[in-house]
């Protein structure tokens, strides 16, 4: 599993890395029980500061995506095991509102906005469409 980050992006590096790892877990490329590289080696491989990777790992742990094991380090938790919390709903609404506002300002139609949301959701794990989403559509 490859993670890639953009040095010149406005998004902070630790957020980019967080998003990449969460995407890996959601897509199944990072399996449950798999352990992430040590903070030191990942920071070295990406050429970024130790504290940046540490911040990402702490955030992942806080959100329940990984479990910090004494010997094995950061271990990935099963993708379906996390509940949808109010905190997540709040954050999601905030981000969706920003996107919706900009879409409105640019006169993007509601259908296109929703279609893009749906295809983004499905693109993460293509097989998810076949299992539960596909049936509902028909």
């Amino acid at each position: 599993m490859i993670v890639s980050i953009d040095y010149e992006s406005d998004t902070p590096l630790y957020t980019q890395l967080y998003d990449e790892i969460v995407r890996g877990i959601a897509s199944g490329r990072l399996e449950s029980g798999e352990n992430l590289p040590s903070v030191r080696s990942l920071a070295g491989d990406l050429g970024i500061n130790l504290h940046t990777v540490n911040k990402t790992y702490q955030l992942l742990k806080q959100e329940g995506f990984v479990h910090i094991h004494r010997q094995k380090g950061a271990v990935v938790q099963p993708a379906g095991s996390l509940p949808v919390t109010d905190a997540f709903r709040t954050r999601m609404e905030r981000q969706l509102e920003s996107l919706a506002s900009e879409a409105l300002c640019r006169s993007m139609r509601e259908e296109e906005f929703l279609e893009r949301c749906r295809s983004a959701y499905r693109s993460i794990r293509p097989q998810a469409r076949d299992t539960h989403e596909g049936g509902r559509e028909r």
């Binding site: 980050i5 990072l30 070295g44």
Partner: protein
């Protein structure tokens, strides 16, 4: 020209030519998208301007290097009149070292000059640097270098060498020839003691430690992945690191065995130690290093570096990596094959101090 000066000149000349060849063909030892320490786009690696710069560097190193070498050889012939001087040959022994240092100076100076030319070429061509960087979360779980126990045969050779010396201790003559001068005549004879008998085994252990350390760095060095082509990049890392590790394993074994033989001849060879044998002893490490260079060239052929945004500025003079915010200690070389240290990391200086300490300790302990 008498035979001993001829042999001396041939050995020194071979070392000089080997170093000269490595310096001249530096551009082909570096990753293909690195031009004298400057990263260039993958689409530009075969551009005429790039090829011209590489060819011009090789030509100049060979030209200046050969001219200087011939000058030194002519100087020696003129000074000695073609025969090996009988008395004090100190200057003759230190001259090759001086010539090699001068050669490093010549090729280093040319490298810096071409580094600046490459920098200018990149600016004028408007070549942009990569914005993204990538890393693999799974590659480090694979075994990319040989584990510590792969060095067990090396330790066995050392134990056999030391064990033989221990068992045959009574048969070893009371004085041991520990050094031959350039003419093949013993010029340092030491009394038999545990120190002189087992000295070579300590050297073996030191060499083994160095090879184990280098093998460790092939696994520990940072792994950059090209975000544009991660699969190819991962495959290159696998091939390169496994190959380097195997090379360290074999070269280490060769060196340890060679030193074991050297010890055996020194201790049990007696008067049978003749010129041919001494010559062979001098040539063996040379042959091994040449073989190592050739295998490294094959191993590193066609590889590309996954350059990071702004990385050029962190390679001082194109050859020394300095980045305080990079937590990696070992990094892949830009100028050649193998790994180097991030000098912006304090631990690198500790490592340098330890290696220098070990290398220089005998000078102080054994004046």
């Amino acid at each position: 020209m008498n035979m001993s000066l001829y042999g001396f000149g041939l050995t020194m000349g071979a070392v000089y030519v080997l170093v000269l060849a490595v310096a001249a063909f530096q551009p082909s030892l570096a990753p293909r998208n690195i031009l004298f320490g400057i990263s260039i786009p993958k689409s530009a690696v075969d551009d005429d301007a790039v090829r011209k710069l590489r060819r011009s560097y090789t030509g100049q190193v060979i030209g200046y290097g050969l001219a200087f070498g011939i000058l030194v050889a002519a100087g020696i012939l003129w000074k000695t009149g073609g025969t090996m001087p009988a008395d004090d040959t100190q200057w003759l022994a230190t001259l090759p070292v001086g010539a090699l240092l001068a050669l490093f100076g010549i090729s280093g100076g040319l490298f810096v000059a071409f580094h600046q030319k490459a920098e200018r070429l990149k600016r004028e061509s408007g070549w942009q640097e990569e914005r993204r960087t990538a890393a693999s979360l799974s590659l480090r779980k694979e075994r990319l270098h040989y584990p510590l126990y792969a060095f067990a045969p090396h330790l066995l050779v050392i134990l056999i060498s030391a064990g033989a010396a221990w068992l045959l201790y009574d048969k070893i003559p009371d004085s041991i020839i520990t050094h031959y001068n350039a003419r093949g005549i013993p010029d340092r004879i030491q009394d038999k003691s545990y120190g002189t008998v087992f000295e070579m085994n300590l050297v073996q252990l030191f060499m083994l430690a160095i090879f184990i350390f280098v093998n460790y760095t092939t696994g520990a060095a940072r792994m950059k992945i090209d975000p544009a082509d991660p699969e190819r990049s991962e495959e290159q890392q696998r091939r390169y690191r496994k190959g380097m590790s195997l090379l360290m394993l074999l070269l280490g074994l060769g060196m340890v065995i060679f030193m074991g033989f050297l010890q055996a001849f020194m201790l049990y060879g007696g008067s049978r130690m003749n010129g041919v044998l001494i010559g062979a002893a001098g040539i063996a490490p040379l042959v091994m290093s040449a073989a190592a260079v050739v295998s490294m060239m094959k191993l590193g052929k066609g590889r590309m570096e996954a350059s990071r945004p702004g990385e050029d500025a962190k390679w001082k003079a194109g050859a020394f990596y300095w980045d305080r915010s990079d937590s990696a200690i070992f990094v892949e070389k830009r100028t050649g094959i193998g790994f180097t240290l991030n000098w912006g990391h304090p631990v690198s200086w500790v490592i340098l101090a330890i290696i220098l300490g070990f290398a220089l300790a005998p000078l102080y302990l054994n004046p």
